[in-house]
Symmetry: C2
Subunit: 205 residues, 2 copies
């Protein structure tokens, strides 16, 4: 048998394992998944997994990294195909959304925090975090509704806009948390207000 075909078959089996692993990890989170589960789902014995991956960590991180590379490539291809700036921005957004739609399970992994056990306590915690998130978005939404009613804001979809503002602020905090040097984050307020307010304000007034 040619070595080339051998490699092809090896990669085929490896990919099959990763595919099952993706499903299971996104449903339960890294620490609640056992190698036995992945083995069973992919039709191998536990020991066999170790022919394809050095460890559980290696399996998991291979799965993530390979998917991220795929996404990155897909998006850049679409963007580069567009000619002008407006087109590139639209292509970027559309490509991202499309990839998420096709890989919903995968993205759920990043949504998942530490609180994803199967126990009642952790399920309740998860639910409360999500409820709190919806609460906050609704709180913001009501402010925006008032703004539209009194004419300060134009008629944007309030729910989407509220979520947008929430995440706009979050984007600044994430940048700040990741950055090693930390000047005060509060100075970023004006930028958020600027971007968001220009996006939603009523130009007719």
């Amino acid at each position: 048998m040619r070595a080339e075909r051998k490699e092809r078959e090896f990669n085929f089996r490896r990919a099959a394992i990763l595919e099952q692993a993706e499903k299971i990890f996104s449903a339960k989170g890294y620490y609640n998944v056992t190698m036995a589960e992945i083995a069973e789902a992919s039709g191998f014995a536990i020991g066999s997994l170790y022919q394809f991956f050095e460890s559980k960590e290696d399996l998991y991180s291979s799965m993530i990294l390979e998917k991220i590379d795929l996404m990155s490539a897909a998006i850049r291809q679409e963007v580069n195909a567009a000619k002008d700036v407006t087109g590139k921005i639209e292509a970027l957004i559309a490509a991202q959304l499309q990839f998420v739609e096709k890989n919903a399970d995968f993205f759920r992994i990043f949504l998942r925090g530490q609180s994803d056990a199967l126990s009642e306590t952790m399920t309740a915690l998860n639910q409360k975090i999500i409820d709190g998130y919806f609460d906050n978005v609704m709180f913001i939404e009501n402010i925006l509704k008032a703004g539209i009613k009194c004419g300060v804001l134009r008629k944007v979809p309030t729910r989407d806009a509220a979520s947008a503002l929430f995440h706009l602020t979050r984007s600044v905090t994430i940048e700040w948390l990741l950055k090693p040097t930390k000047d005060s984050i509060v100075s970023k307020k004006d930028f958020i207000v600027d971007i968001f307010f220009n996006g939603v304000k009523n130009y007719d007034q």
Copy 2:
């Protein structure tokens, strides 16, 4: 001793444990923290922790929920104090940023995915995810720079705006992933383009 004072002291010790736990959880993630560590850091024996919390899960979820409640209350108070819509939006953003600045450790917990072990593999995975994120933001930033150069966009801070667009799109995907009924997400593209483009476009043109 009056029962009231007893309760005060109980709560004081409980809070001290939660304070240490917050630090440790945010540094290492739920599954990489042992009860022994929390005990040592807070100056109790392992067994004593179980006088204050039913389990590790209970300890963790109490810590999260109590902090979230604090944040929610702080933000709402600021917003309610503001009179008009513009003021409320500004107050909302400022209060969120202030709370993040004061509780940076805590928010790092939510930044943390599943990939936070102490091993080389998981550290490398984490680093690659962060690198990928910065790569993507830079990729977007370059598009925006080109847009400013050719006059289509006004002179916004490109780095911040790129991160904003990235997270604006992410906000839509998070909403979509959390929602039980799923019409196609791609239809949200126009909303993102609308909000973002109005925020950054050059009105002089």
